[in-house]
Amino acid sequence: MASDLPPPYTALTRHPMMPRASHDEAARFNFLTHFNRYLSGAIGAGNRLAYEKRVLPRFRAEHGRDPRHRYEIRDAMDRDPWHRAWSAMKRNSMEMRQHNGRQIVLRQLDEIDGMAAQYNARSGLLELDSAIEQPPYQTAVDIHCQPGGYHGGERDGDVAVGANYDVGLFATTGGALGGLNDGGGQAVVEWLRAEHPEWRPRRVLDIGCTVGHNAVPIAQAFPDAEVIAIDTAAASLRYGAARAAGLGVGNIRFVQANGEDLSRWPDGHFDWVQTTMFLHELSATAMPRLLAEANRVLAPGGLILHLEQPQYSDEMPLFEQFMRDWDAFNNNEPFWSAMHAQDLKQVMKDAGFGRDCQFTIGVRAVVDPAIFPPSPDAGEEDFGRAAIWNAYGAWKAIPDAEVRAA
């Protein structure tokens, strides 16, 4: 019975930059961890029940047909008392996570900022560029209901948003990402070790890295590689660079840059370009631009990999699409809906990755099983939040001329 209990907050690794949570602050996250799992598991099932028992029959009676789009289901479910109450609780849970995280971080902001400044002055891992502007898709709303988004702050040069992201990710994901919230990066590393054990990347680019929690495990797994982790948000990069330095990682650099314009790096510079749960934070025009740039800086024979939740397809039931869309409308993830409705394989092809060099794999967060139980999955899925992803990837084709020469 205890086997699927989420771990307590104290199971998180207390790396040097991790803001210290008091006993009660940790206990509040423990409540939220349990509450989130309860909402997605035991009573999350009520949404389907409400849909099948009353929402769908009423829709059929009103329209004389079944819903044709997930948005029609959303309009109907948004009038259902069960779904309203469930959504209100889930939204509040996210807001409480942000509030608790910000109380932890802001009451000790002087210490955290001071420590970050010390690490960043000594480590050489941070490279900011004040000319980089925040793109509109990052500033339209505060993503994930995090006040300040990933770029804002309480004062110039602070690390509040990065620190808050790091302290609270545990509660949002029900403790499924492991001690360093790095289960996604660990999953990619494990896949490479199993499927391509001989492959050794030399230069890796992680786009949209925020605090680098998924880029650091790549740097750790390939100590001879040089990892460049980019983001437009200086506030996240400052924290991420200090966090990596605190963890003793030296082969990573946090660079302020926009993935839509990678012109500072020459063609074919990297042999691995990675994004993790990032493409859905872009926009319809930004995503193809970013992928085309990723294609340009990737060397022939190199790997591009995107970890995302599964794309919607005609095979995916509309109700599941509607449930997976929840975060777009309730958790300030405005591109989530449109992005997941795209045919990502076609988007990749348009960016220069031919279909014959593409692949998709399923991966789940790799965590220490002695401390962390498995993420809830089939039948108890937290739509869009489970630590189970589809990886959309490609090995960039090597031009025929180069193959012949080699």
Partner: protein, 119 residues
């Protein structure tokens, strides 16, 4: 912390972006926020109580820094996790039973009042 920085006010700032209205009466939206925050506070208080009991049991006395430094081992963490799960189950009883009711599709009780008056 700098004297001129009100971290309590800053921590409570809203996120940019219009918040959905979940209920027709905005008062209900506010009430959900309060009830859930209080539920979290009570849960934290119960966990603190558990920590205090364990420290007293082990040491016979109490220092506040020991409360802050307390890290449950796996066995204790599971005991506390089960207690939190049971607590969540208690405060969520109404919703969980409503879910069961949706599944059961019982007729109104009047149906059985009438039925048994005749049978």
């Amino acid at each position: 912390m700098s004297d001129d920085f009100d971290w309590i006010a800053a921590a409570g700032r809203r996120a940019k972006g219009k918040r959905p209205d979940y209920f027709d009466d905005p008062g209900l939206d506010r009430l959900y926020s309060m009830v859930l925050a209080m539920a979290a506070e009570l849960s934290a208080l119960r966990e603190r109580n558990d920590t205090v009991e364990r420290l007293l049991e082990a040491n016979g006395t109490l220092r506040r820094e020991d409360i802050e430094a307390f890290v449950p081992d796996r066995v204790v963490a599971d005991e506390r996790g089960l207690a939190t799960r049971a607590y969540v189950s208690r405060i969520m009883r109404g919703f969980q039973q409503e879910l069961e009711a949706m599944e059961a599709d019982d007729p109104p009780i009047q149906h059985w009042v009438d039925q048994l008056a005749q049978d």
